[in-house]
C-alpha cells in the first residue's frame, strides 16, 4: 500500500479498465479528491461520450477546457482539433487554409497510418502535462479518463511506435520527449479500474502484464469498484442459516409479516453475489502485485454529482486522506 498515497502527487494519471467498470467515475472522483487537496486538475475525456461531464451534472465540454467545478477543468479529446493545435504551435504552418477539409485528410492519414489518432491524443495530453510542469498552464495536474483495456496499450505506446516507423523529422523529435514523460514514475501512472467479476479481473491481469512488457509507462494502483459488503462473520452466517430454517422463518413471519421470505432471500442473494465475487478478488490479489484500492458498491437511486462525491470519499479513505 506504500505507493498509494503518492497517487495524487503525480502530474499525470490515466484511468483505464474494461468497459463498464466505472473508469470515468474513478477519474472524476480522483479529480474531486485532487481539487480538495488544492490542486487544479485538467480532466480529459478521451472517448468523448460525455460520461465525465454527466458525472458532474454539467453540459458536455469540447476541446477547450471549461471549469466544471472549482479546481476541475474538463475537456473532451478531439484529434482533429489536436492536429490543428499541433500544426499551429509546432510547425507554424502558413498553409492551413489551403489544406482543404482537414477532417478528411486526417481521417485518411489516421486510417492509413495507425497510431496517428493515438499520437494526437497522447501528444495533447503530454503537452498539457509539460505546460503544467513549466507553470504555463491553468492547471497543475492532468487526469485522463482513458481508453479501455483493449486500446490503452496502443494509445500509450504510440510515441514509441511512431519512433519505430518515422526515422527523422520533427515528429520523431516530438515523440522523444513524450516517451520520456510517459515513462517517468515521478510524473505519470496508469491506474486500472476493475470490478470483482470474471472478465474485468482477467483483463486487468492481462493488461498489467502487457503494460510491463510492451510499455515503459509506470503502473499506479488497481481500483476495485463495486465491492459488495461482507454481511456476516462465519459465526453470524451460521445464525443467518438458522433463520432460514422453517420454524425460525415461521416465527419471524408471524411478527414481521409475509415479506419475511423476501427479506431472507434478499440477504441470501447478497451473500452469494459477494461470494462469487470473492473468488475473482482472490484471483486478482494472487496475480497482481500493485496496491489495491477498494470502492464499495453504492446502493443509490441515481448517478450524478452526489454519487461522484460519495465515490471520492470512499477513494479518499482508501488513500488515507
Amino acid at each position: 500500500m506504500a505507493s498509494a498515497p503518492t497517487l495524487l502527487d503525480r502530474r499525470l494519471l490515466f484511468f483505464t479498465g474494461k468497459g463498464g467498470v466505472g473508469k470515468s467515475t474513478m477519474a472524476a472522483a480522483t479529480a474531486v479528491l485532487a481539487a480538495q487537496q488544492g490542486r487544479r486538475v485538467l480532466l480529459v475525456e478521451v472517448d468523448a461520450k460525455g460520461d465525465v461531464t454527466r458525472l458532474f451534472e454539467q453540459a458536455p465540454v469540447g476541446f477547450t477546457p471549461r471549469e466544471i467545478q472549482p479546481g476541475i477543468l474538463a475537456m473532451s479529446m478531439d484529434t482533429e482539433a489536436s492536429l490543428q493545435e499541433y500544426l499551429k504551435l509546432n510547425l507554424k504552418v502558413p498553409v492551413l487554409g489551403r489544406l482543404g477539409p482537414l477532417a478528411k485528410v486526417l481521417d485518411f492519414v489516421a486510417t492509413a497510418a495507425p497510431g496517428v489518432k493515438e499520437i494526437l491524443t497522447v501528444g495533447k495530453i503530454a503537452w498539457e502535462v509539460r505546460e503544467a510542469i513549466e507553470g504555463r498552464a491553468d492547471h497543475d495536474m492532468v487526469i485522463v479518463d482513458a481508453a479501455a483495456t483493449g486500446h490503452i496499450v496502443a494509445q500509450l505506446g504510440a510515441p514509441d511506435a511512431i519512433q519505430e516507423l518515422v526515422d527523422v523529422g520533427p515528429v520523431r523529435a516530438q515523440t522523444q520527449w513524450m516517451s520520456e514523460l510517459l515513462s517517468d514514475p515521478e510524473i505519470c501512472a496508469v491506474n486500472i479500474v476493475t470490478t470483482p467479476e470474471e472478465m474485468p479481473v482477467a483483463e486487468t491481469i492481462e493488461l498489467v502484464g502487457r503494460i510491463r512488457t510492451e510499455l515503459h509507462t509506470p503502473l499506479g494502483a488497481v481500483i476495485v469498484n463495486r465491492v459488495l459488503p461482507e454481511l456476516f462473520t462465519t459465526a453470524d452466517e451460521a445464525t443467518f442459516e438458522a433463520l432460514r430454517e422453517e420454524q425460525a422463518t415461521e416465527i419471524l413471519a408471524s411478527r414481521a409479516g409475509p415479506g419475511t421470505t423476501a427479506v431472507l432471500d434478499g440477504a441470501r442473494l447478497a451473500v452469494s453475489l459477494r461470494r462469487t465475487r470473492a473468488v475473482h478478488l482472490a484471483h486478482l490479489l494472487d496475480s497482481v502485485d500493485l496496491p489495491l484500492l477498494y470502492v464499495p458498491y453504492l446502493f443509490v437511486r441515481s448517478h450524478g454529482l452526489r454519487v461522484t462525491r460519495m465515490v471520492a470519499d470512499a477513494l479518499g479513505q482508501e488513500l488515507g486522506l
Binding site: K18, G19, G20, V21, S24, D47, K49, D51, R54, L87, L91, V93, R98, L99, V105, F108, V109, T111, A112, A113, P114, G115, A148, G150, H151, A154, A161, L165, V166, V168, G169, P170, E198, L231, D236, F240, A242, L243, E245, Q247, A248, I251, L252, A253, A256, G257, P258, G259, T261, A262, V263, D265, G266, A267, L269, A270, T276, F299, R301, H303
Partner: protein, 402 residues
C-alpha cells in the same frame, strides 16, 4: 399470410418468433453488459428450440465460456458443440449448435489472399509493416473484420441462423459504419491523390520533382518524414490492386446488415452509463434503417425486492430486532441462542434488503421507460454465480425465450 400473421412477423412477441424469421442476429451493447454470454445463450436456445444448424460467432469470450463451447485454441475454425454437452445440461438438442471465435489477424490474411491478384502481391501486402500495424492494432479493423467474417459465414450457406457478438468498440455504432467506411476509404480519390507522386515516380526511392509544389506533401514530409510516406504509399499501391474485389465485398457486407433476414438485439444492464449508450444505440439503428429486433435487459435484480410486504418486514427486522431475537431464542437452536448476535444478524439482513431494494426500484423505473419500443424486450436476472458452462447458458436461454 393473413394480416394478423403479418403483424406477428413484423412485431414478434418473443425472441423465438423473431428468430424464426431471421438468419442473422447481431448482439450489441457497451462493454461489461454480458453480450457474449447472452449471444451464446441465444444460440443455444435456438439450437434446442428452433432446430436447424445454429452458429454463434463470438469475439472475446471468457476462458471458461470458450472452453464450455470447445473453442480453446481453435483460431477461426468453427466447432460443433457436442450433443452430449447439451444433454449433460439436461437439454434435448433439436438442431446443431456450432461456435466460432474471431481471429482478427487470420481473417485479414484470408481476405488478402482471396482478393490479391497473385501470390506475390498477397505476400507483399502481408509482409508490409503498415499492414501488420493496421490489422493488429487498429481498432476499427476489428469492427470491419467481424462483419466481414459474418458475411463469409452467411454466404457459405451452411447455417440456418448465425448469432454474432460484436467487438468492444469505443462507440457501439462504429462497427455498423465499418463496411461503408472501408469501401469509401479504398475507393477514395484522396487515396489516389496521396499515392500519386509515388506511383508516377515508380518504386521506392525515386521521387517526382513537382511534389515539392504541393502543400500537402510539404507538410506531410515535414511532419512524418518522407520514408514513412513512402511506406504508406507502397502499402496502398499494393492494396489498390485488390480494390474492386475489396470494395464489392464491403458493399455486400453492408447490404447483408440491412437485409430483412438480419436483426439486431441491444443488450444493456440497468445502470446509468450502459443504459445511456443502449438508448443511443437504438436510435442510431433506427436512423440507419437497421432492424432492431430485441432489447435485452441483463443482470437485473429480482422482483421480490420490490415487494411492499418485504419492505415492511425489513423494517421490522431492523426496528424490532431485539424482540424478534427473544422470540427466536425459544427455539432449541444453538445458532439462535445468543440473542444479541441474532439481533445483529436480523438488522444486517433488514438493512441489506433495503439497500438492494433501492437499486431494484431504480431498475424498475428505467425498465418501464425502456419497455415502450416496438421490439421484443427481455429481462434476465442477475445470476448468483458466474455463467461459464452450458447449464448456465441454458439458464439464460430460459429467460431469453420465455
Amino acid at each position: 399470410m393473413s394480416p394478423r400473421d403479418r403483424d406477428r412477423a413484423e412485431n414478434p412477441a418473443s425472441i423465438e418468433q423473431l428468430l424464426a424469421a431471421k438468419e442473422i442476429i447481431v448482439f450489441c451493447g457497451s462493454g461489461g453488459v454480458g453480450k457474449t454470454s447472452v449471444a451464446a445463450a441465444a444460440a443455444l436456445g435456438a439450437a434446442t428450440r428452433l432446430g436447424g444448424k445454429v452458429l454463434v460467432l463470438t469475439i472475446d469470450p471468457a476462458r471458461r465460456l470458450a472452453s464450455a463451447l470447445g473453442l480453446e485454441g481453435l483460431g477461426n475454425a468453427a466447432n460443433r458443440v457436442p450433443d452430449d454437452a447439451l444433454k449433460r445440461a439436461g437439454l434435448e438438442p433439436r438442431g446443431e449448435l456450432w461456435a466460432a471465435m474471431l481471429d482478427t489477424k487470420q481473417s485479414w490474411d484470408d481476405l488478402v489472399l482471396r482478393h490479391a491478384k497473385d501470390e506475390e502481391t498477397a505476400y507483399r501486402i502481408l509482409e508490409n509493416r503498415l499492414y501488420h500495424n493496421l490489422t493488429a492494432r487498429f481498432v476499427q479493423s476489428h469492427d470491419y473484420i467481424a462483419m466481414e467474417r459474418l458475411f463469409e459465414l452467411h454466404s457459405s450457406g451452411e447455417y440456418d441462423l448465425i448469432v454474432i457478438d460484436t467487438p468492444p468498440t469505443r462507440n457501439a455504432i462504429d462497427f455498423l459504419e465499418a463496411p461503408a467506411r472501408m469501401a469509401e476509404f479504398f475507393g477514395s480519390r484522396l487515396l489516389r491523390w496521396l499515392t500519386l507522386p509515388y506511383r508516377v515516380g515508380g518504386r521506392r526511392g525515386t521521387r517526382v520533382l513537382n511534389v515539392a509544389s504541393k502543400p500537402f506533401y510539404q507538410i506531410a514530409d515535414r511532419i512524418l518524414g518522407s520514408k514513412f510516406l513512402q511506406d504508406i504509399a507502397e502499402f496502398f499501391m499494393s492494396f489498390q490492386t485488390m480494390y474492386e474485389g475489396f470494395v464489392d465485398r464491403a458493399r455486400s457486407v453492408e447490404r447483408l446488415l440491412h437485409d430483412r433476414r438480419t436483426t439486431f438485439a441491444v443488450v444493456t444492464t440497468l445502470e446509468a452509463a450502459p443504459l445511456h449508450e443502449a438508448e443511443q444505440f437504438c436510435v442510431e439503428l433506427r436512423n440507419r434503417k437497421f432492424h432492431l429486433g430485441a432489447l435485452v435487459m441483463n443482470k437485473t435484480l429480482p422482483d421480490y425486492l420490490l415487494d411492499p410486504a418485504g419492505d415492511a418486514a425489513a423494517g421490522a427486522f431492523c426496528d424490532d430486532a431485539g424482540a424478534l431475537a427473544d422470540a427466536l431464542a425459544s427455539l432449541d437452536e444453538p445458532a439462535l441462542a445468543d440473542r444479541s448476535r441474532t439481533a445483529r444478524v436480523l438488522r444486517t439482513v433488514g438493512e441489506s434488503f433495503r439497500n438492494f431494494a433501492v437499486v431494484a426500484k431504480r431498475e424498475a423505473e428505467l425498465r418501464a421507460e425502456l419497455d415502450r419500443g416496438p421490439e421484443v424486450t427481455v429481462r434476465i436476472p442477475n445470476f448468483e454465480v458466474d455463467i461459464g458452462d452450458v447449464s448456465g447458458l441454458a439458464a439464460i436461454a430460459n429467460y431469453l425465450y420465455s
